[in-house]
């Protein structure tokens, strides 16, 4: 990987890596630090990483950095008051659905959360997610499906409460 290719990676992937991390840890400075570390590592290993694999490499490094960070900080994922957010959503309908969903996602465990984020935001396949998160394809499938059903039930529950 040459210098201009690396800078291209910054342009293309910095935002998505940052979004992925920020959604997970909900801390701007820490998320920025993790992104920076990921790009540092990419630069150090630029001769080993193929340009086409750069994105998944970045996500892999960032994900593991994030896990380390969570372990170090022992940060509990922020779980905002779900009932309040849900009640609001029922009155304002669709624009608030996003917030409700976000609140529900924050109730997932870190692995499920990362799975959902990688799938929905980045559109990675089960296999790619498995590579990034060091899981088997079937594990990704099972964990992700559990997360989906959990989220669906949360949304159904809210609709019932609203109606």
């Amino acid at each position: 990987m040459k210098e201009f290719e690396f800078n291209q990676c910054v342009d293309e992937y910095a935002n998505s890596v940052y979004r992925f991390i920020l959604k997970n840890i909900a801390h701007v400075e820490d998320a920025q630090d993790i992104v920076q570390t990921a790009f540092e590592k990419l630069w150090v290993n630029r001769n080993k990483v193929e340009p086409l694999k750069a994105k998944s490499y970045l996500f892999t490094v960032a994900y593991h950095q994030m896990i380390d960070h969570i372990r170090k900080e022992k940060k509990v994922t922020i779980t905002p008051n779900y009932e309040e957010a849900g009640a609001k959503a029922t009155y304002q309908k669709d624009p608030e659905l996003k917030q409700v969903l976000l609140a529900a996602i924050n109730e997932l465990n870190p692995t499920q959360k990362s799975l959902v984020l990688l799938k929905d935001y980045e559109g990675y396949t089960y296999q790619e997610i498995g590579e990034i998160m060091n899981l088997s394809e079937s594990q990704v499938k099972v964990y992700l499906h559990r997360a989906r059903i959990f989220l669906k039930e949360k949304l159904v529950h809210l609709e019932k409460v609203a109606s």
Binding site: R19, V35, L97, K98, L101, D120, G123, Y126, L144
Partner: protein, 285 residues
């Protein structure tokens, strides 16, 4: 591929995750059309997909690699920044190093021993000095007996004023006054004595003392002094003075090697020990 009411959920999940082939996607869509009751469930699952949102990483400038930045750092400098494993120094003790270490240790032991002996000798010297210098010399009575002279036939009575000599026992101790013994009467004093006695001698025997040379006078004085001494010691009853030695001084200290130990503090402990043993003895009896 067969989607039915038991396995539809799995297909729905794979459908929304876009993990199905085109044919499978079509099969799921057909199933929903065939069974509208499940359409709502598929819609619910679709709602769990998060709509993409734009999050912008502001500090991209930090991430870019510029040629100037890279070039500005020399490879030597960058090499310095890399972490290197710490060097381990292995010390091997061969016979030579062992001998060297032992000799150093021996020198230390000798030095300490020498210092120990030195401090011991100094403390013993101090103790002997304090023992010997005690002013319990015999007191000279102020009334001297009449002096006899072999050469001069005239007897004269001379009163010599008692002279006070100060003895210093130790630098810290108070000056202890004591009356000088006879033995310490010096030649100077006897000369004065002579000078006083001379006029009387002159009157009695008409001896021309002026003709006598000064050397002879000195000789006479010496003889006089010795005679006086012998007379005095034989005649005067000796009185002995006793000095009260204060053992409760605060600055008494015992030296064990180089360590100064407060004797006053130790005394308390030894007394307690003694008391205990005495008590035990009496109990045994």
């Amino acid at each position: 591929m067969n989607i039915n009411e038991t396995n539809y959920e799995n297909y729905f999940l794979l459908y929304i995750d876009k993990e199905l082939s085109a044919a499978e996607n079509a099969a799921v869509e057909n199933f929903v059309v065939a069974y509208p009751a499940y359409a709502a469930e598929l819609d619910q699952l679709k709602k769990t997909i998060q709509a993409p949102e734009d999050t912008i990483f502001d500090n991209k400038a930090l991430l870019y690699r510029l040629p100037a930045m890279e070039a500005s750092l020399s490879p030597d400098f960058k090499n310095k920044l890399y972490k290197k494993p710490a060097r381990l120094f292995k010390v091997e003790f061969n016979n030579q190093t062992k001998a060297a270490l032992l000799s150093v240790a021996a020198v230390f032991v000798l030095l300490i021993g020498y210092r120990f002996i030195e401090t011991n000798s100094v403390s013993s010297f101090n103790s002997t000095v304090s023992n010997t210098v005690k002013p319990n010399a015999p007191k000279l009575s102020s009334d001297h007996a009449s002096l006899e002279k072999k050469d001069a036939p005239v007897y004269t009575t001379v009163r010599s004023a008692p002279k006070k000599i100060n003895y210093r026992l130790s630098p810290k101790e108070e000056l202890v006054p004591a009356i000088n013994p006879i033995a310490t009467i010096n030649v100077q004093e006897t000369n004065n004595l002579m000078a006083q006695s001379m006029p009387i001698t002159k009157e009695a025997n008409n001896i021309q003392t002026s003709d006598l040379p000064s050397n002879e006078i000195a000789q006479v004085a010496n003889v006089l002094a010795t005679n006086t001494t012998s007379k005095e010691t034989s005649n005067v009853t000796e009185t002995t003075t006793y000095q009260v030695v204060d053992t409760d001084e605060e600055d008494r200290s015992i030296y064990i090697a180089n360590f100064e130990i407060d004797a006053a503090a130790l005394r308390g402990i030894t007394r307690k020990f003694n008391a205990i043993f005495k008590r035990n003895k009496s109990e045994n009896k």
